[in-house]
Amino acid sequence: MANGESEPGTDVPAGGFVQLLTPEGERVDSVTTADGVTYSVDFTDDEYRELYRDLVTVRRLDAEATALQRQGELGIWASLLGQEAAQVGSGRAMRPQDMAFPTYREHGVLYTRGIDPIMPFGLFRGVDQGGWDPVKFKFNTYTIVIGAQTLHATGYAMGITMDGKTGNADGEAVIAYFGDGATSQGDVNEAFVWSGVFHAPIVFFCQNNQYAISEPLERQTRIPLYRRAAGYGFPGVRIDGNDVLASFAVTRAALDQARQGQGPTLIEAYTYRMGAHTSSDDPTRYRIASEVESWKAKDPIARVKAFLVKQQIADDTFFGEVDDSARDLALHLRERVLAMPDPEPISMFDNVYPNGSPEVDAQREQFAAYQASFEGSVH
């Protein structure tokens, strides 16, 4: 069926989407979109099992983070619950040389890049601002101002072209993550313009989780988001964001197009934020329980499990082992988060400028002297 379209009355959005695994766990061999592009995956049994393991693991780590926040160990947490397939599929679709520019919710992508999941916890615990070396990990720092990172991603992609690193299978590409709310930002639209004009090797991966905190998609757009790409001169594809196979297949194809020098693609991963925007949010104020329930039936993990069972690729021993190892990893993560030391107050003066500043230096000294003045005093 064109663009994976289903009959009206089902849970597929009007206009359809690319779906390679139904919520019931049925495999769709391939999907050919209205643009004539065919998407498919060719995984071994092992690879299917590992995808399942990824999905379960990132959900379990996310649950641990939510618990840590509720116990006062994190200042805030932005849960990815419900978006595991979009993140694991697109993350696994990246090749080692590819660069990701995340928002603050891409813990699943981070995990698939082989990065220690502890990395963003400094930010959420409040011991730093989320610092790591983006170039080393091929994963930029989390960006909190909505949409700002899409321009950084575009510039980085322009740099790839300028370095002559496109035009073959070993070429580099960039993936920029953002949400449905971000598509209203000027920066995202500028990133689309620039990427189109400069034919940049970039994939815009929009996780449309239906809400920008409390505001539903209808407050951001009158047309399906993927169709916006046409106005900027590059292809747009909508996928079932809860289908890890579609997420992988379409992202892999788009990244490979980009690295070959074929320019940008916009992917709209149609998904749902099962939890709150962050731990500070109360979604019961703006959405009804039945809506959440209807999305539970489209759970990204349950469908993979159903598929593995039907195909006899995995059994209860495997599922139990995956759950156990995810739990162990989560508990280990918890221990390490609890062991994160608070920074020394004086460290706030570090890393303001690469070349330093006499003004900052003077304030550091004054602060140190002020702190020292309390030494030996009793409160």
Binding site: H152, V197, V352
Partner: protein, 326 residues
């Protein structure tokens, strides 16, 4: 052998030298390519260095700075041109929330050696948004450095120093002085630090602090003051963030009087910070409060009245007089 060139041409020479010296230096902005920029500061550079290194960008200031960040992460050294002072605000978020914080956020892992060039200031008879002095906004933002040149020699050297620095730098260019000429040693290396103020006229009776377009005004005032028998000491601040105050304190301790001049509105402008610091450091040397001669706290007015808005020689001398009346 010094050549006599305009300030604008000195910048052009400086940019050319930077492009020659480092293949990672790129220039990006609106109309910087074929046209050479609306002020011709990048004239001829695209022709000689190619469209990949002197990039005509889409008309989107946030995009210019935002993509420069990505290019810098990739290892480039972007020099962004914002066409006019009043057009920097669409890029404000990328500058104050991203450029300024990336080094800090990444715990020192990401350097953004980005220079953002902004022609600023009034006096050219322009329409709205073409004559503003927004330097205080950026000086108020930790993580950014802010400099401004006032003569061709500084323009030539400071732009190269800014480009070779790993700090993100806002480089303010006094657009009404683009056509003023002066000697420049084009083959000489810079012999003065980028982030340093400079004593440009010695005097004994009062210290006048100025930067960018107001340096010429301050020097003119100092010349005129000799008619009243007063010798004004003039310091070109050059660096607005960080400020280089040592030289200023030394001068004020000697003269006992201090007047700060800038075009931007007085309220919370550079003059306010400078006055506070001078008061703290030179309190017992001061014969009078530090006075400010600035633009008024109104939107930049229509061109036909801008001469009354802008600090000029007479207003500077009036302020000097008032420091003697205390």
């Amino acid at each position: 052998m010094a050549e006599t060139v305009t300030l604008g041409k000195a910048l052009n020479h400086g940019l050319r030298r930077a492009l020659e010296n480092d293949p990672k230096v790129i220039i990006m902005g609106e109309d910087v390519g074929k046209l050479g920029g609306v002020f011709r500061i990048t004239d001829g550079l695209q022709k000689d260095f190619g469209e990949d290194r002197v990039i005509d960008t889409p008309l989107a200031e946030s995009g210019i700075v935002g993509t420069a960040i990505g290019l810098a992460i990739r290892g480039y050294r972007p020099v962004c041109e914002i066409q006019f002072d009043g057009f920097v605000f669409p890029a404000f978020n990328q500058i104050v929330a991203q450029v300024s914080k990336m080094f800090y956020r990444s715990l020192g892992n990401v350097r953004l050696p980005i220079v953002i060039r902004i022609p600023y200031g009034g006096g050219i008879g322009a329409v709205e948004h073409h004559s503003e002095s927004p330097e205080a906004y950026f000086s108020h933002t930790p993580g950014l450095k802010v400099v401004t040149c006032a003569n061709p020699a500084d323009a030539y050297h400071m732009i190269q120093q800014a480009i070779s620095s790993d700090d993100p730098i806002l480089f303010f260019e006094p657009k009404r002085r683009y056509w003023e000429k002066g000697p420049v040693e084009l083959d000489a290396a810079p012999d003065f630090p980028l982030h340093a103020s400079r004593l440009i006229r010695e005097g004994t009776d009062a210290t006048v602090l100025a930067y960018g377009p107001m340096v010429r005004t301050a020097l003119d005032a100092a010349s005129a003051a000799t008619d009243d028998g007063r010798e004004l000491e003039v310091i070109d601040l050059r660096t607005l963030s960080p400020l280089d105050m040592g030289r200023v304190y030394e001068s004020v301790r000697k003269t006992g009087r201090c007047v700060v001049v800038h075009e931007g509105p007085g309220n919370l402008g550079l003059g306010a910070e400078i006055a506070a610091r001078v008061t703290e450091e030179c309190f017992y040397s001061l014969e009078a409060p530090v006075l400010r001669v600035t633009g008024f706290d109104v939107p930049y007015p229509a061109a036909r009245v801008e001469e009354d808005y802008l600090p000029d020689l007479d207003r500077v001398l009036d302020a000097v007089d008032r420091t003697f009346g205390w």
